[in-house]
Amino acid sequence: MSGTVPNSPAGAPPRGPRETIFEIGSPESTCVTAPDLDVPDVDLAQVMGGAVRTAPPRLPHVTELEIMRHYAHLAEMNFGVDSGFYPLGSCTMKYNPRVNEDTCRLEGFTGLHPYQPAQTVQGALELMYGLAQALGEISGLPGVTLQPAAGAHGELTALMIFRAAHESAGDPRRKVVIPDTAHGTNPATVTMCGYETVTIPSDGNGLVDMDALRSVLDTDVAAFMLTNPNTLGLFDPNILRITDAVHEVGALAYCDGANLNAIMGISRPGDMGFDAMHINLHKTFSTPHGGGGPGAGPVCVTEALSRYLPGPVAVSFDDGTFGLDWPDASIGRVRSFHGNFGVLVRAYTYLRAIGASGVREAAEQAVLSANYLKARLNGVFDVPYDRGCMHEFVLSGARLKRETGVRTLDVAKRLLDHGFHPPTVYFPLLVEEALMIEPTETEPLSALDSFADALIAIVDEARSNPDLVRGAPYTTPVRRLDEARAARTPDLRWRPSSA
């Protein structure tokens, strides 16, 4: 970059990376010490059969202040929903209400051991039971497991349930069909469940191509996995024909619930003919993404499939108490203990806060915000599948790239200089130079307008000074990274010699 190119509209000075925690402090620094030993000491080598450590692990030597400053600096290099608009398509980066963070930290929740007797965990079981009931109601699929730790884990759980149902009917099958707009987790899950993926192309409107679907449906197909609304943000108006066609060959229909935020309270996947779906509590139900997790991916299934759910599930008894039970034909456990309980508390808190009316209002506002933003950006970028969108929409930067050489990646990086987190880019795969934008219902109109203004300004920059955009970002803690170097010579841990 030439030094004369203006660096940024609003430039805070870059905050560089800092030393790792292993390089700060001093050998005598300590923070938290072990309690004084009030019982007779033991000879570790003797009681542990000789398998004792000879050299201590090389852990940091820091004081409490040094730890807090270290992590404060790391935090300042991060961008979260609280930092600014975060329109990541398919990720539903809505605001994470703070009351959730308080309720999930009540000691009556955090202090529970998973093997405590049922009479000491009635509140926890009631909460789980209530959350499962609510998710069953919203999905229209009454059998619910809260066990899965994430969306992908939920997908796998559902396919395992499908497998068990087919096998117990004496009809094992080999294939699972997915459309080309599917998230990568769908085919990866298919493999992990021992099935073979069959991918079908979308039709000219970005929807399921009924002919293509029918041509692959046969009695060897175990399931069809569909995200509805799909990853282009489109609700498939043929949905009943689709699930009918799937059921006609004895296959089951799976709804990837990544986009539930668009339709909750408005349309229920169970009513669309789906047999199972997963719900991302960290998307639709406001639990924080945590920089990658933990989330939770409950699975909802039809009454008929309920007997295959993984256990244990929270149940209510006639005397008003709650317990844990195993469905009679359960696939077994998909993880340890009772699910990501801390995440369940947050989601339950959110659902109780917004109530039935809030569920529907959230979806309506999310869809309105997406359509508004799409209207503001239509023409600035191309809209390859231009029909009414749901909670997200996909733009193409192909024309901009052709005309200016500026790619979608460059636009995304330049957005960082404007103070916005970029949308999801280069997905779905069938849109060239894709930008997938999901504003969510929690953003005010002013945020949507500023974001649209920023994208318009960046397109202008791309035309007048493409190198400026191609060199972005300038104001972030670090500049663009040498990702090829990271992959060619992996440096995955700190070593004293690499300091």
Binding site: E483, A484, A487, R488
Partner: protein
Amino acid sequence: MAHPNDRVYSEEHEWVVAEGDTAIIGISHFAQDQLGEVVYVDLPSVGDEVIAGETFGEIESVKSVSELYSPVSGEIVEVNEALGDSPETVNADPHGEGWMIKVKMEDASQVDGLMSAEEYDEFVAQG
């Protein structure tokens, strides 16, 4: 850029230089350009069999994986081990130091069906 005419090309973007019954195989300049920065090449071992039209390995850029298809059938007699430490050679010199495997062909006439440089350039231009 025109591709060198001292070799033949497959529709899967591999090139072949035949020396007697030995085929030297790599990927074309066009292919490496499409991939972007190559970060890893997964190649088979000497002694493995390859079959024309089937995969013999994988090549990775930062955010993509592509399969490598053998244009010929036969036994692998040499593998370019240097690509393990410096996969970037595939970008820098795809038609030379970036070669991948040498195959002892069952039938040297297999290469006759492949494209000339001129035909390949045209094939690439048509997208």
